[in-house]
């Protein structure tokens, strides 16, 4: 049986969380998030060539087309000769055929084809961004209501705080690595919200079960015992999901890999926040909550 003193050192762990969240916010502010064209508007083209082509060759061909800021990037395995071209662009139509034309003329390859083409208008992009943020906030609120309903409203805020923590840290990781934040990443964030609350619920459930049994014990000790009791399942449930998402990150490609990355960060952060954010917050609310309400009553 484990017996870690989680609670005695909880202030230290909370400090770690505060630093991590602060760092994430700072990174998001300073570096900004690398939004994909889903959210920014623009065009993304995936080409596949019959022979290897160099990024610089494509760049020189694209230069005269006045695309503004564009990026050229190799995707997939090298042998597949796949290139991705991305640019933010105005309302011009028919650009993709112009580019294909330029490649066909300027490159000495037997064949080339557009495998994927995505165009997002700037308006559609900003709408989607708003919708994405809204979706995240709505799911936080839903979780708040659900946990509040199944447990009570002293339990609920800690759980939600942990979720906010997870989303921010995941986004921070995206700001740090400069990975593209696309629709799939929003899907991952919402999944993290739905999933990372699971181990919080498991622990809360156990706290609720232990409350009448260990009536005599002080709250902090009770929580510590519960955390130790549930520790193995917290770790193992996270571990099985981690196996899967790390594999997605390692062996997936493109969006698949992005999803895996977001989930990996979110899962680790989720477990940490369950133990070191949700539970301490519950203790605070339980210990200081009554005093606060008393204060209000005395007025």
């Amino acid at each position: 049986m484990f017996n870690f003193q989680f609670i005695r050192r909880m202030n230290l762990f909370i400090l770690v969380s505060v630093i991590a969240v602060g760092g994430s916010l700072y990174l998001m502010g300073s570096r900004g998030l690398n939004f994909g064209i889903d959210f920014k508007g623009g065009i993304k083209l995936h080409y596949r060539f019959s022979e290897p082509v160099s990024e610089t060759a494509l760049r020189t061909l694209l230069e005269p087309l006045e695309l503004g800021d564009f990026s050229v990037q190799q995707v997939g395995e090298i042998s597949e000769n796949r290139m991705m071209i991305k640019f933010e662009v105005s309302e011009k139509e028919g650009l993709s055929s112009k580019i294909t034309e330029a490649f066909r003329k300027g490159l000495n390859v037997a064949s080339l084809e557009i495998e994927q083409e995505e165009t997002v208008g700037p308006k559609a992009g900003s709408e989607l961004r708003k919708k994405g943020i809204l979706a995240i906030i709505v799911s936080w609120l839903l979780m708040l209501i659900y946990v509040g309903y199944r447990f009570d409203f002293i339990f609920a805020p800690g759980a939600i705080l942990a979720l906010v923590h997870d989303v921010l840290i995941t986004l921070g990781a995206f700001a740090l690595t400069g990975r593209e934040v696309s629709l799939t990443v929003i899907a991952a964030l919402l999944t993290i919200i739905g999933y990372s609350i699971n181990d919080t619920i498991v622990i809360y459930d156990r706290v609720r079960e232990n409350l009448p049994i260990m009536e005599k014990k002080p709250l902090r000790e009770l929580i510590n015992i519960t955390l130790n009791e549930t520790l193995s399942r917290t770790i193992i449930t996270t571990l099985t999901v981690l196996f899967v998402v790390v594999l997605m990150y390692l062996f997936g490609e493109g969006e698949f890999q992005n999803f895996g990355f977001a989930m990996t960060v979110g899962c680790i952060s989720g477990t940490y926040s369950t133990i070191f954010v949700a539970c301490p917050f519950y203790i605070y609310l339980k210990e200081y909550g009554p005093r606060l309400t008393q204060k209000f009553k005395h007025r």
């Binding site: 997002v120 193992i236 196996f243 997936g252 989930m263």
Partner: protein
């Protein structure tokens, strides 16, 4: 249940679709076993099977202008008969205002009274009362809303009809709310052609050429204007509007310049354009068409048109009165041709030739044009908001890669569960495999769409599915440590863990619902697999493993359990 799942998955695994098309091609009867199984494979999303997805915005403001045009010609016709007939009725080309100027010495009162009486629902007076000479009318708010709504609805219908005629299997055309329409065409191989077909306004008009200015003069003006204001040599809507704007002073009021565009016969690139000075008023329009069809003369395909009775009459009058003049045929505001009227045409028939090009291309163009003309014009232009085109080969690669990751993930989880939980782990693994089977079967049964993120959802389900079992097994270990017997440990394990399992899965399910609401296409696919995965996990974890565990305990008369 297992058998049922397998039954529903057979078509997908056996690629019945291929079998079917093969049988169709060879005209042989379908093999008997195809009939034994349900008709549907798992439906693949656009990102996996290739195709086009576009979101279009109907430019409803244009529809309002068109409506105002119609209303103003109605007013002109009706007011002409009244004693208080106005001096002139104009349209403000920048918006949907109608401007009415009464005759000299006439008061506004009678006209505005008449309009209030007859057009109360549609027109509202907006100024022009006090001393101002003109009366200004706006469309009423409710009529505007109705027109906007109708325009989107009509655009949707028109697009649907065009695509149906074009023949795409399983197109999805949906109104997204507001002025937006989404069109999904799976498995399309020629995206440009399909998009052209959707976006073509299909506006057909016959306008007289204004012969008061010589062609050379017009050409000179255009070239001059291009030079003066540094306009590039293109024929976009904006450039044409700008040229007309600059030449406003010199052009006759009721005429404007439009272009006949020349294309290279092979590359179809624009190589030049001939300007025409045309009367603004359309004499005959596509709404008066009865039919359009492709004909071939001397190996040159062309489109022949026949008008309905109103159209025939108008066309006959027009050609009778303007013999020797030129009549321009316009398609979407571009001049298709401007032949000279040699003799009155009383039959109500006309032709559109398609210019130069190789036979096959021209024939295809003629086909598309007749289709668009027959299905009618769009009520307003469409603007592309987003577009996704996916090639078929990419999808196959994605599926393969996804399946590879899924296999690896399954193996890792299965091995981990067996090493950590021994026999019980094995049971959980059986439940896991069943779980994957159920999710796939559910996808086939409900015809939910499997997308690339959907595969990610499937892989994720593998990791999350065993969570429920882990909670139960950990609880059983605890009970065993407290000295309970195997049977009561199972009892307590399931009993106590169920609550938390339910709660935690419901939260994930809730997130899935939000995601479904938020996302389009591929993301919805993810949300659906996630939610199906959760339901299936609850069934397999709480019920299947329980039955297996009890079975082992009672059936083998064992007293201890291996957890």
């Amino acid at each position: 249940m297992i058998l049922l799942s397998v039954y529903f998955l057979v078509p997908t695994i056996g690629h019945f679709e291929n079998v079917r098309t093969l049988a169709q091609e060879k005209e042989t009867p379908l093999p008997f076993y195809v009939y034994l199984f349900p008709p549907d494979e798992i439906k693949l999303g656009l990102d996996l099977q290739g195709g086009i997805y576009v979101e279009l915005e109907v430019q409803v403001e244009e529809a309002l202008k068109n409506k105002a045009d119609l209303l103003s010609s109605d007013l002109e016709r009706l007011l002409k008969k009244e004693p208080f007939a106005p001096e002139k009725i104009e349209r403000n080309p920048d918006n949907s205002e109608i401007l009415i100027t009464p005759k000299e010495g006439q008061s506004h009162e009678e006209i505005s009274h008449w309009i209030r009486k007859n057009y109360n629902e549609t027109l509202i007076e907006a100024g022009g009362q006090n001393g101002e000479k003109r009366l200004v009318y706006h469309l009423t708010k409710s009529f505007e809303d109705q027109t906007r709504n109708y325009a989107v609805q009509q655009a949707l219908e028109t697009i649907r009809n065009r695509i149906d005629r074009y023949g795409v299997s399983e197109p999805t055309i949906v109104r997204l709310g507001g002025n937006k329409i989404s069109v999904e065409l799976p498995g399309m191989t020629d995206p440009d052609r399909a998009l052209n077909l959707i976006k073509k306004s299909g506006k057909l008009e016959f306008k007289l050429v204004d012969e008061s200015v010589a062609d050379d003069t017009v050409r000179g003006w255009v070239a001059e204007t291009r030079n003066e204001s540094n306009l590039t040599e293109d024929y976009s809507e904006q450039s044409i509007a700008k040229i007309n704007e600059k030449l406003k002073e010199r052009l006759p009021v009721e005429s404007e310049i439009l272009f006949e565009i020349q294309r290279d016969p092979l590359t179809k690139k624009i190589v030049g354009g001939t300007p025409y000075l045309l009367k603004r008023k359309a004499e005959v329009t596509g709404e008066m068409l009865k039919n359009a069809q492709v004909n071939i003369n001397n190996n040159e395909p062309y489109v022949s048109l026949s008008f309905n009775s109103i159209g025939t009459r108008l066309f006959a009058d027009l050609t009778k009165n303007h013999v020797g003049k030129r009549l321009a045929i316009l398609l979407d505001d571009n001049v298709a041709s401007a032949p000279v009227i040699r003799e009155p045409i009383l039959s109500g028939e006309a032709q559109i030739t398609l210019g130069l090009g190789d036979y096959q291309t021209l024939l295809r163009e003629a086909d598309d044009l007749t289709l668009v003309l027959r299905e009618g014009a769009l009520p307003a232009k469409l603007k592309e908001l987003t577009k996704t085109v996916v090639g078929a080969s990419l999808g196959k690669d994605t599926i393969q890669r996804g399946m590879k990751v899924m296999l690896m993930a399954s193996l890792v989880v299965i091995i981990f569960m067996i090493t950590y939980y021994k026999l019980s782990g094995l049971l959980a693994d059986i439940a896991l495999i069943l779980n994957i089977l159920f999710v796939l079967a559910a996808l086939a049964i409900f015809q939910a769409t499997l997308t690339m993120p959907g595969i990610a959802g499937l892989v994720l389900t593998i990791g999350m599915a065993v969570d429920a079992n882990i909670l139960i097994f950990e609880r059983m270990r605890e009970e065993l440590r407290h000295g309970h017997s195997g049977r009561s440990a199972i009892e307590a394990g399931y009993h106590n863990a169920t609550r938390a399992i339910l709660d935690s899965n419901i939260t994930t399910f809730l997130a899935g619902i939000v995601l479904y609401q938020f996302g389009t296409g591929p993301i919805r696919g993810f949300a659906v697999t996630l939610m199906i995965g959760i339901v299936s996990t609850l069934v397999t974890a709480l019920w299947v493993t329980r039955v297996l565990q009890d079975g082992i305990l009672y059936g083998l008369k064992k007293e201890s359990i291996s957890v």
